[in-house]
Symmetry: C2
Subunit: 552 residues, 2 copies
């Protein structure tokens, strides 16, 4: 039996596009001799559909799409993800289902049993867990058809009380097929591979796995669909960060005798791999954000600093230099080298740039507002005014010329609130908001590996917001090497104050950092969506109270 | 047996405050002769704690708080909500639990079995459902101890496959105690009463119910704790929108023979009741937002229109006129009556007001930006510039003088994107963002019922953003009476395009409205939190994709 894996991008709610992509791949699979073609989880409606699942018409359109796709399944079978309706009175109205289509009709439906509801996942919000586990027989093979999380319960401390494969295995399946919508984070490829290989070797049958690629706003899907033999050896992997289509002979995979060499208790990847993945992921994220919204052109405020420099590089790689406009907005506190560095970068990239000094507007504001400031001295207010003038100029150009403004904040400053709401926090999408400042430097070095794209001076000068004379980030914040380590423990690891202090950090510094993180939830509540590349990004995956008083 | 109900506000993560409030009420209950005092769901840590539940130290502090509170339970028992740790290897790490404290220690723990995960609820994100149902015997009475949603599965089309009271009832309990964190919406009091009364009459035992009051950012808790006799008659209700404490004799409630007169299949309330509730809820929401953040003073941009007028009234009622500052920022497109109306309102309320014309800044911006506008004509860009200048002035005053800026957008304009991101969409909290424009008018009439507070002219003039000469909302939007009806069907009722068209609305209008709602998800992703008074508010309870292409 020949199994085709179709690794595609889908657009949520764009049924016409999704149906057309799926049908084209069914035709291709049949013409290339496949018996079965496998698509990803919730492919017909896109992932995640979020609260569109609460609209009956959205569900009807999904079911119509499945039927239309089933019509194309003549001379070939297809597996495809779609919501389905729970016919029982009790429980939620929907299942997250895998349809087995053959002979022009729906032959079987399997429902996802393990519904992830942590981090960015909300599946239990919509779906009733499946409780029936019946293999599907096709062309003499018994298939255990599972959906994403269904295979992820293989550890000793399982998140779910049941494990679908333990229910299937008594029926002696020949193969596990898993359709997934498994979002990227830079450590995820190893975790995914380990889970799939553990399942294959535990149940001694091969695993065929299909994931999404592309981006759904902040969520990135890296693909990495794969085939694993019964020993837990990866026979083949599809492309990462790109659509792909490959056909495999099931019998060959079953009889493939190669043994895994990796130790799946150690999920190791190199620094170089990490940088490469983040780079590909962010470029893909920008590309699909514009593609799915139907926009072409981006505008970016270029300060001469490293954050906006890196965002400019990534955006040029996603959209092409002809579709990117850089705006330089020096104030009286900007150093001359900042403009020089920004100009140099724009020229290196072949990007059109415009210099719009903000001094006059800034003074007009100051003159207007001084009488109402009760004689209080220059403080963060005036710094914010400068940042907001820049935000306004960028938004005006965005409005007038139909650009999307991309945000250039990094994770460290978003964490501690070192940014101006409605100022430098503006934008439709945050490109590097899930990279700590130290990772911004690392990715910039990666970008510059072969040739100096980001000017060396941008990389080496001490970080500064340049909102008052001689200002440096280091005046207000701990050194980024220290700050980022503490932030990582608090944000990614969810360690508490005393656990972090137990690691040997200075108490005053840690208390100050954690307090800043907590106090600035109100700003993050109004941040643009952030391309997610870590295991814990700000946004939908981290839901904190705004008015809490914990550790403050 | 005398049962005290303690209806209090709690502050998430503020263990010191919560413990102190709880212990004071235990002492009071004992001194007033109660045998048992009942507090609300997750009272020790505040509700909702959200992702603080993922921090081990937060859980440890909760458990320590329970132990400290247990120490105070000598000569009296207490029931209190707190997370507890799931001791089993399988499943999530926590339960949402009700502790029964007596004799200085924890005597029993019951776990919430039904975990709401819809709308604003995320409980399945954190908690494993309880699966053990054992009554607690105390002073000769058998108590069925339940938590909020556990009683809400009484309909014929249940959301959950099991119903805790069906498991308890075989043990012949004398009384149902339910501890809750049940957020307000204007129709919720009737729903809650119906659910509690149905449970009492179905199981023929009384119900003692304790809810939170106060606000947790956008979530409002109206209290309405109550006692229901075995016939389903409400013996007593505690205050709405305020703390309260009352003691009841259980035997008296058991033998109370009164029969309910209400028809719980009809959840009716008057327009006057709706307005009164919304008014109380919003005033409470503002009050607790400032209280919990430790701020005292608010700044509001006053346009002369009805939205900002209503917000000013509500804010004055929450904080006192001495703590509110109104800023009038007329542009060259503002009509003279707008300033007059705004001044009149501020004077009616005794609020300090300041007039800061924006003409000069606006022209400075225009002169600065014109060269880059490629000769394109006046459009929404220039309108947005005006709105953003105002946002910037308000934020500058907020920064310099330590005010919180309150947002004045209404639900209709948030829905269709008729507002400027980083302009009039600025603010720490949106006060009326869950009121459709027609409801803004209704609540303003309610406010003016006894005396003209909001100037009559503000109430009667046609709505206008005054961002270009002679502009009216009606130029860009359908009439609000029509718009709000269609929005209600799409947002609250989750009806799709064809369902709404089936109600007889004009197709072009409906398509345009739905398209505007979908296209503006990106703006709502950056909106301040919105005080929730309806069954479906924008924000955490409505989670839509940003880059979807459904119905567009």
């Amino acid at each position: 039996m020949k199994i085709a894996l179709a690794q595609l991008y889908y657009h949520t709610g764009n049924f016409e596009l999704n149906i057309s992509k799926i049908k084209n791949n069914i035709l291709r699979a049949r013409s290339e001799g496949a018996d079965l073609v496998v698509f990803a989880e919730l492919a017909v409606c896109g992932y995640p559909p979020r609260d569109f699942l609460e609209f009956n018409e959205f569900i009807e359109l999904s079911l119509e799409a499945v039927n239309e796709i089933a019509d194309a399944c003549v001379g070939i079978a297809a597996i495809i993800g779609s919501p389905s309706i729970n016919p029982h009175l009790q429980g939620k109205n929907l299942y997250n289902s895998a349809y087995f289509l053959e002979g022009g009709e729906v032959k079987n439906i399997c429902h996802k049993a393990l519904l992830p509801n942590y981090d960015i996942f909300d599946e239990y919000r919509y779906f009733e867990p499946g409780r029936k586990f019946e293999t599907i027989t096709y062309k003499g093979h018994r298939i255990a058809l599972t959906i994403c999380e269904d295979l992820w319960n293989v550890d000793d401390d399982p998140l779910y009380p049941i494990s679908p494969m333990n229910m299937y295995i008594g029926q002696n399946p020949d193969v596990i097929i898993n359709i997934a919508a498994s979002p990227f984070s830079f450590g995820h490829p190893e975790e995914r591979e380990a889970v799939l290989c553990k399942n294959a070797s535990k149940y001694k049958i091969p695993v065929f796995y299909v994931n999404h690629i592309g981006a759904q706003t902040e969520l990135l899907f890296d693909g990495g669909s794969m085939v694993v033999n019964p020993q837990g050896f990866v026979v083949d992997e599809l492309n990462y960060f790109a659509e792909d289509f490959r056909i495999y002979e099931l019998e060959k995979v079953i009889s493939d005798g190669r043994m895994p060499e990796k130790d799946f208790t150690k999920l190791a990847f190199t620094h170089e791999e990490k940088m490469h993945r983040i780079h590909e992921a962010l470029v893909m994220g920008i590309k699909y954000y514009f593609l799915k919204l139907g926009f072409e052109k981006a505008v970016i405020g270029l300060s001469g600093g490293i954050d906006s420099a890196l965002v400019l590089v990534l955006t040029v790689r996603a959209l092409g230099s002809e579709n990117v406009r850089a705006i330089l907005m020096p104030s009286e506190f900007s150093t001359s080298h900042s403009v020089d560095d920004a100009v140099q970068l724009a020229e290196n990239l072949g990007v059109e740039y415009t210099i719009i000094p903000i001094k006059e507007v800034y003074h007009t504001y100051n003159n207007l507002l001084q009488p109402f400031f009760e004689g209080r001295p220059f403080d963060v207010t005036e710094e914010n005014i400068q940042a907001r003038i820049r935000g306004m100029i960028l938004m005006a150009l965005s409005n007038k010329l139909n650009y999307i403004l991309l945000n250039t904040s990094n994770k460290s400053e978003i964490a501690v609130g070192y940014g101006t709401l409605y100022g430098d926090m503006c934008g439709g999408l945050s490109v590097i908001g899930d990279l700590y400042k130290t990772e911004v430097f690392q990715l910039s070095e990666f970008v510059n590996k072969e040739k100096e794209i980001i000017p060396n001076h941008t990389m080496t000068k001490p970080p500064s917001a340049e909102l008052r004379p001689g200002q440096l980030d280091a005046d207000s914040l701990p050194d980024y090497n220290l700050l980022d380590k503490v932030l990582f423990e608090y944000i990614e690891k969810r360690k508490g104050l005393h656990e972090i202090l137990g690691m040997g950090y200075d108490e005053l510094t840690v208390r100050r950092i954690l307090k800043l993180v907590n106090l600035n939830e109100y700003k993050r509540a109004q941040t643009p969506p952030i391309l997610r590349i870590s295991s814990k990004a700000f946004g939908m995956g981290r839901r904190m109270p705004i008015v809490a008083k914990y550790l403050i």
